[in-house]
């Protein structure tokens, strides 16, 4: 019976097991790509700052992800979530024969939910800062950055898209984990109802 398989064979190859594994692999790829692309985001440009006589004065400016704390948080959080997904994939593959005692399945579901909120925080914080860099802000007199550092902005855009798809995938992973949890507990409650008087 598929319900027993979840508990006693550590999952086996039921449909929910395969679905969860597939979703976790996709979420791992998405968050890992976001962390890597933003982590290697750097652009150096030599710009003409002023002109003295006929000689232009050039300055070398660097756009680095480390200047913005929101992007640093983005890289760290995506790295943490991708590590969590990797750990859960390993757990799923290598614990097929292990029995799921009471607290294990619950902790997987709770960790999935907490990591979903973490990656959503990271992606959202970075996207609002990126919007400031793209459009500037007239009220605070902050000018745009993207018109000069277009490669930096393009890479940032790619990393943000990967992170948002990671958010959606983590929500799906949480949903499947919680449904596996409730199937497992249904089996327990029916067994208890049968066993007790």
């Amino acid at each position: 019976m598929p319900r027993e398989k979840i508990l006693f064979a550590g999952g086996g190859t039921t449909k929910s097991w395969k679905l969860l594994l597939g979703l976790r692999i996709l979420a791992f790829i998405a968050t890992f790509a976001a962390a890597i692309v933003m982590g290697l985001n750097k652009e150096t440009k030599t710009l003409v700052v002023a002109t003295i006589g006929t000689i232009p004065v050039k300055a070398t400016l660097t756009a680095n992800f480390q200047d913005t704390p929101a992007f640093v948080f983005f890289v760290i959080a995506n790295a943490m979530v991708s590590f969590h997904n990797l750990l859960m994939i390993a757990l799923q593959i290598f614990s097929r024969k292990v029995e799921y005692k009471g607290f294990r399945l619950l902790s997987v579901a709770i960790l999935d939910m907490l990591n979903a909120t973490l990656v959503s925080a990271a992606a959202n914080g970075a996207v609002f800062i990126a919007e400031l860099g793209k459009n500037g802000n007239k009220h605070a007199k902050w000018n745009k950055v993207c018109d000069r550092f277009s490669v930096y902005c393009d890479h940032g855009r790619g990393a943000l898209i990967a992170a948002f798809s990671g958010v959606i995938l983590m929500i799906l992973v949480s949903a499947v984990s919680i449904s596996r949890l409730s199937i497992n507990s249904n089996k327990f409650s029916t067994a208890a109802a049968v066993a007790s008087p």
């Binding site: 619950l106 609002f128 902050w142 929500i171 507990s185 327990f188």
Partner: protein, 164 residues
Amino acid sequence: MVKLTKRIGALVLRLVAFGAALAALIVMVTSRERASFFAVSLEAKYTDMAAFKYFVIANAVVSVYSFLVMFLPKESLLWKFVVVLDLVMTMLLTSSLSAALAVAQVGKKGNANAGWLPICGQVPKFCDQVTGALIAGFVALVLYVLLLLYSLHSVVDPFLLQKS
């Protein structure tokens, strides 16, 4: 008896979370300061930044949701749905807090490499009110994480936790 205290505890938690989200919303909306130097008058409102607008909207949604869930009867079948919605609300809260915090940090410290000057020196009361709203939002977030764990525990059979 234990079940009753648990339910009352959850209700109190949700009431405090509702209060915190409402407080964050109100403090952010009423933050407005006008500063003038030389002949230029500068007015700082929460609508200047997109992140603050999103913060206000997210906290409004969370407040309304908390208020409605407080009145949900115990035997309703909607409690399974409440787990999903609690997760969605927690994600809304974290994302809005993270965005507002990131923008407020740039406003306070500036960004030397991008040439963005900090604005907190010119409008200190606005900055203080925004800080207060962010703290209230953070309290609401922590309470919502606890509520999420409690909803999960109460919907999934608690029998699971006692199984050896």
